[in-house]
């Protein structure tokens, strides 16, 4: 099988996957923070927050990620004129475009993935025995204290494995950013297939290998972490 395209300077395989990693990294941090917030809202005593959290999660979960990302670029950026990067006059705007598209994609991923993090944490909260929260209330802790000191730490420890699978899903979902021109792995594969159509199997194997290298160790790592941090009851 002919892998000669790997040494062709036109195709930056490492660069494309580095972009995938960056997209995953920033989206993961944002989704985790937003996910915890959403979970807290969904179990909070404030009915408006509960309803908003529930509504947000249900809406975002059921829309395809493709639609969300494309709406970010076409509607929010193009039509509504929201700018997430600065365009300097007189300078090649490629950097502006790349930054803008990258950040739009990250925001889109955060909005989508945070719903899954929220659901994971909520199911984690459900695994914490009611007795823990009752005891916490009995010693007079407030809602935020119960959540922050007693329930959430145990909840998150219990759902490390599902959070790991959300991270893996996020890594694979970053390919959707190809819809708005972020030069990550799927765009690279598309370009490679256009130019080297007869070597498409080799191209597929290379891209597949890239994603396996990214996802398999993550899965094993999170599996090991889950084992180590499981709450022993």
């Amino acid at each position: 099988m002919d892998f000669s395209f790997l040494s062709d300077p036109r195709y930056d395989v490492i660069g494309a996957f580095w972009l995938t990693v960056q997209l995953t990294f920033w989206s993961a941090i944002g989704s985790f923070i937003l996910g915890v917030l959403l979970a807290a809202m969904r179990v909070s005593p404030v009915p408006l927050m509960r309803r908003f959290g529930g509504g947000f999660v249900n809406v975002m979960r059921n829309i395809p990620l493709t639609l969300i990302i494309i709406m970010m670029s076409q509607v929010i950026a193009n039509q509504l004129g929201v700018r997430l990067a600065t365009r300097e006059a007189g300078v090649n705007p490629q950097a502006f475009l790349d930054n803008q598209n990258f950040r739009l994609a990250v925001v889109g991923f955060i909005l989508y993935t945070s719903t899954f993090v929220c659901e994971a944490i909520r199911s984690g909260i459900n695994t914490v025995p009611a007795g823990q929260a009752e005891a916490a209330r009995a010693i007079g802790l407030t809602f935020t204290q119960v959540l922050g000191i007693v329930v959430l730490p145990q909840a998150i420890r219990a759902v490390i494995a599902p959070l790991g699978s959300v991270l893996i899903a996020l890594t694979k979902n970053t390919t959707v950013a190809s819809a708005i021109g972020v030069a990550e792995a799927a765009v690279l594969m598309n370009t490679l297939i256009e130019n080297e159509a007869d070597k498409f199997t080799a191209v597929f194997l290379v891209i597949a290998a890239g994603f396996i290298i990214l996802t398999l160790p993550t899965g094993l790592l999170f599996g090991a972490l889950a084992e180590r941090n499981a709450v022993k009851r």
């Binding site: 179990v43 005593p45 404030v46 408006l48 927050m49 908003f52 249900n58 059921n62 829309i63 395809p64 990620l65 493709t66 639609l67 076409q74 509607v75 039509q79 509504l80 004129g81 899954f116 659901e119 994971a120 909520r122 199911s123 909260i125 459900n126 695994t127 914490v128 009611a130 929260a133 009752e134 209330r137 119960v146 959540l147 494995a161 599902p162 959070l163 699978s165 959300v166 893996i168 899903a169 694979k172 979902n173 970053t174 390919t175 959707v176 190809s178 819809a179 792995a185 799927a186 598309n190 297939i193 159509a197 498409f200 597929f204 597949a208 994603f211 396996i212 398999l216 599996g223 889950a226």
Partner: protein, 305 residues
């Protein structure tokens, strides 16, 4: 609005009620401000004019663009599920086999296809179909990509479902002298089907969402892409995408609710009552199903009312 008791917080007393009210009001103001800001930007860009929203009252818009797109989406989803289920079942059963020469390759196949994004699989399937048959068929590419991925995911669902059948069943079957194949087909699979059904229906939600991937690089004219063409024709991109998002939400929410309904009904039937619960969070990737079968039914902190 009655105040509920919850394990996480007491029934609010006067001070807590006041605090809740203040927080509600502040949060409500923040939300309203956000909504008002969005609407004002939309209005300034003329997005709220009726000319932009009236195309949805035109039958031709629906019959030419949106409904065929929706039909294409549903077609791809249903065909993929129909093909992926038997493949998934075979792979799942193979992964449970005692023979290592069957278990290992099945395991490798499942892990391989679950680690690759669906778009990549679709791109590969498109080229493969064209190279072998000389015809470029986005539908085939989308279906093959979805089948490759979801076949592996459903393999894990089937495996979890079979593992969820109480051990006593296996022991009894072996005691009366059934061989492995009979054990699987007569005893385990039929019972596993009821435990798996809700999970399969909720995986259908993922499949419906993934059909949208076919519209980006492979050129399959599903709902999102058809909406794009419609929006270009009528000049109303934002309203079209909002309407399409609503369509997706309706479809997926009805699938999810039927999955939950199935789960409830099948759970209350006699028997072990254990269900394969697919972590909502792990909907895109069933690593959770691989880890363990969650025994549902233990009341957790959030569920105690």
């Amino acid at each position: 609005m009655s105040d509920r008791a919850s394990v996480l917080y007491d029934i609010p007393g006067p001070k807590a009620k006041r605090l809740n009210l203040i927080i509600s009001v502040l949060f409500g103001i923040a939300l309203a401000a956000l909504v008002w800001w969005v609407l004002s930007i939309l209005a300034s860009k003329d997005q709220l004019e009726s000319a932009k929203w009236s195309p949805f009252l035109e039958g031709q818009n629906w019959t030419t663009y949106l409904l065929p797109g929706l039909w294409a989406t549903l077609q791809a989803a249903v065909v993929s599920v129909i093909i992926a289920l038997p493949i998934g079942a075979l792979l799942g059963i193979a992964r449970l086999s005692e023979h290592a020469w069957l278990r290992w390759p099945a395991g490798v196949v499942v892990e391989f296809f679950r680690s690759i994004p669906v778009i990549i699989l679709m791109l590969f399937a498109f080229q493969l179909w064209f190279a072998v048959l000389g015809v470029s068929s986005p539908f085939a590419a989308v279906v093959i990509g979805l089948v490759l991925y979801n076949g592996s995911v459903l393999a894990e669902v089937v495996r979890a479902g079979i593992l969820a059948v109480p051990r006593g069943q296996t022991e009894a079957a072996l005691a009366i002298g059934l061989n492995k194949a009979q054990l699987m087909t007569i005893v385990l699979l039929p019972q596993a089907v009821t435990t798996m059904l809700p999970a399969v229906v909720s995986q259908l939600v993922v499949i419906v969402k993934d059909t949208a991937l076919g519209g980006i690089l492979v050129g399959y004219v599903e709902l999102r892409r058809a909406a794009n063409t419609s929006a270009s024709f009528y000049g109303n991109l934002l309203p079209t995408y909002v309407v399409v998002a609503l369509i997706y939400i309706v479809i997926n929410m009805s699938l999810s609710t039927s999955s939950q309904y199935l789960e409830r009904r099948l759970r209350t039937r006699g028997g072990g009552g254990r269900m394969v619960k697919i972590d909502d969070a792990a909907q895109n990737d069933l690593m959770a199903a691989r880890q363990r079968v969650e025994v549902v039914g233990v009341p957790g902190v959030d569920e105690v009312r």
